[in-house]
Amino acid sequence: MPIALIDGNNFFVSCERVFNPKLEGRPVVVLSNNDGCAVARSNEVKALGVKMGTPWFQMQDLARQHGIIALSSNYALYADMSNRMMSVLSQYSPDQEIYSIDECFLGLDGFENYDLVIHAQAMRSQVRQWVGIPVCVGIAETKTLSKLANHCAKKSLAGADGVCDLTRLSETERSRLLATIEVGEVWGIGPRLSKQLADRGIHSVEALRRADPKTIRREFSVVVERTVLELNAIPCLSIENVAPAKQQIISSRSFGNYVYDLAPLKEAVATYIAIAAEKLRAQGSVAGMIQVYIRTNPHKEDCPQYSKGLTIPLPEPSGDTLYLTRAALWGLRRIYRPGFAYQKAGIVLMNLSDATNQQASLFCTHRENDRLMSVIDRVNAIWGRGTLRSAATGVSKSWVMKREKMSPQYTTHWDQLPIAI
């Protein structure tokens, strides 16, 4: 069955351009939290050779020369625009898997009598008109191939007008096309794997496709074998309408300013726990283990360096923010050393399991907060995150991240609407 992968072009930049048309045709980057690195680049910025993840301070000269406009991440805006885009696309198939904030798979089973390219063009123009976001569509027999088809559409390697349907290519055409694409472009083949594959003479997508799956499995893993099969149009990955429950939940962030004392670190860790525990409960899980870590800035080599993490097994799995906070702060007190300029803290909730199938322990005490947690989640869903929170998360929050170049939250705040004259 054919699968389509729809991906927003330079999604964060495109969201900004919808509400600020002056950014059209100009070089724009969106920076990560604390205005650190480029997380989205307009085509103009890509043409200047700026790579994904380039730190902002490294592009200062280039920015001055070419007038690059840098913006802080406006996640409230991107999330709303993503929801709109996904909702429009859901009209085009009953099988939709939202894979990330800017891409989704659509299963096109039963659309055999449709011209899929026309169908894809309709998606493109509707998303463009309704939401304002330009998208590309890749169509192929498997998820891995549809990701590749999307890459071809975006780079105009095949197809036309932002749509590439690999199922239309003959075997020779397909083989010629895939031979021109580096193996690192394949979904799931990261820089390390591409290097290992290159060592075995596999440089192009075509070479990987021609590789013997059993050998690949032996030398790499079953995951890479699956990729080879998928490249050969044998579906191994199905459309997941419901996102699978996460195996671990991470919440970490760099601070806006360096933090020296234990008190603000505690506030930060308690805040991250609250965010992660909310996600944990939303997927109906409990955590059996917590990791907490703190570190200084590894890029400031002249400053004393310290980095430490501690994993804390819980006597009993829990989804209770207050219990998890106590455990994480207990761990934090054990790893904290005074005299360092801390730049980042984080927590990981691990050993997740289903909240409904728990073996109760004789001395279980913390499940009494289940109802309190559900009230907290409901209140915060209505009045916004952090409305009801534990006092451990602090009031002043001197450590929160910097977002100095953020655009207005055009679609979620009455006082920040776009203006027309």
């Binding site: 048309p21 709109r84 609407l417 776009p418 203006i419 004259i421």
Partner: protein, 156 residues
């Protein structure tokens, strides 16, 4: 107990800490009574006809995914009943017709104007004191951002 205050569960007050002073608690000397009125009589004949209350959101927003709110600044469109500070409900899913009021992008700026087809191209009409019309010729590209469906302003 000669005189008791009864809580809904029939427990005498004063034994389990403070009790919420509930309306309907009745003082009856020496006589335990129900503390709450019991609904009796006919059930409401309207229960079969209960419908969802009218929603202004549903009335004003036809295509949720394509609808955005825009704030008006200035009085260039007072003749169309659009005032400074109005909230505009803008639907991007609609194709603008001749004489639609639209949000147009002119020099990177959002403008609320009436788009009229004229032989020379499209005329973006204003209707406020001191505001001229803008002619967009066929060689220029007119970007219509969305069609204005409603202008909302307080009356009193």
């Amino acid at each position: 107990m000669a005189c008791g205050v009864l809580t809904p569960r029939g427990q005498p007050a004063g034994h389990g800490g403070p009790v919420f002073p509930e309306a309907g608690v009745i003082h009856v000397p020496g006589c335990p009574l129900l503390a709450r009125p019991v609904p009796a009589g006919f059930p409401s004949p309207a229960t079969d006809y209960v419908e969802t209350r009218l929603s202004l959101d549903k009335y004003l927003v036809e295509h949720e995914d394509a609808t955005f709110f825009v704030r008006v600044q200035g009085n260039s469109m007072v003749g169309f009943g659009i005032h400074d500070g109005d909230l505009l409900v803008v639907d991007r899913s609609r194709d603008p017709g001749d004489r639609s009021v639209v949000i147009a992008v002119v020099d990177g700026q959002f403008m609320v104007k009436q788009a009229c087809r004229v032989p020379e191209g499209v005329l973006l009409r204003s209707s406020g004191p001191g505001h001229g019309d803008i002619l967009v010729g066929p060689e220029q590209e007119l970007a219509v951002w969305g069609v204005v469906r409603w202008a909302i302003h307080p009356v009193s």
